[in-house]
Amino acid sequence: MVTASWYLILAAALFTIGAVGLLVRRNPLIMFMCVELMLNAVNLTFITFGRELNDIGGQVSVFFVLVVAAAEVVVGLAIVVAINRRRPQATADDLSALRG
């Protein structure tokens, strides 16, 4: 039988993959996708604990995480578009200065 621990280990593995990807990759779009992976891992943890403790609050937290993730992606991709207009094919290493 699958217990809560299996879900939590899966979430930890997913979070690890996302974190390593965020550190290793240099393409801003891929880095955003890795952030999404980490957010999803946290969502899985929330829902697992919510079920284990028989509390609906875990699912409500996931709802808010989803909203924040959507807002984060919209703003982040707008920044990527704005940067690419001035400096095409820029990677994260090229963006060490904040000026356009």
């Binding site: 699958v2 621990s5 690890t16 779009l29 899985l44």
Partner: protein, 184 residues
């Protein structure tokens, strides 16, 4: 049955996650992300979070990944990336070590806590004979205890949409003329 669904979905989720990190082409990474999010939605169903499984498909796989693909196509960055070059020496080794450390700490915490791996026999069951559905329970809490947070998310979404429009629109004509003069 729950075990079989978990094993299949865990494999899909991890394979998709590795695909995101290892894909050389950003389009392939985005499609791998869809796989991960879909597997995650089925896991949510397994955990009896029905509303969130639907939201996961609609918002993540439907909206966010499409937004990613749209930006990839718009910018024309769907070219292969050379992953063999390591910009900072030793960075990958350190990143993988840090990742393994994170994973190890999480598993060690699980093994030593109340909900640990060893001797944990409690079978996960939520009282779904409850008269309220999952959606009804979420709505009950969301519109009473968390109603101010819910209103704040409305403001957050509005601000982010306005911010995205402001940042990604083209410059006004006078600015543009000035800018091109500056570039010359």
């Amino acid at each position: 049955m729950e075990t079989a669904v978990f094993i299949v979905c865990a494999a899909i989720v991890l394979a998709g996650a590795l695909g995101v990190v290892l894909a050389r082409n950003p389009v392939h990474a985005a499609l791998s992300l869809v796989g991960t999010l879909f597997g995650m939605a089925v896991l949510f169903l397994n955990l009896e979070a029905h509303f969130l499984a639907a939201v996961q498909i609609i918002v993540y796989a439907g909206a966010i990944v499409v937004l990613f693909l749209f930006v990839i196509m718009l910018l024309g960055v769907d070219r292969l990336e050379d992953l063999s070059v390591e910009p900072i020496t030793g960075q990958r080794t350190l990143a993988i070590l840090a990742g393994l450390g994170t994973f190890g700490l999480a598993v060690a915490f699980l093994a030593t806590s109340d909900i640990g791996l060893v001797g944990h026999t409690k079978v996960l069951t939520l009282d779904i004979t409850d008269q309220y559905s999952n959606l009804h329970q979420i709505a009950d809490v969301l519109f009473t205890d968390y109603v101010y947070a819910f209103e704040a998310t409305a403001a957050l979404l509005t601000i982010s949409v306005v911010g995205a429009v402001v940042m990604s629109r083209r410059m006004a004509r006078s600015d543009e003329a000035q800018e091109s003069a500056g570039d010359d």
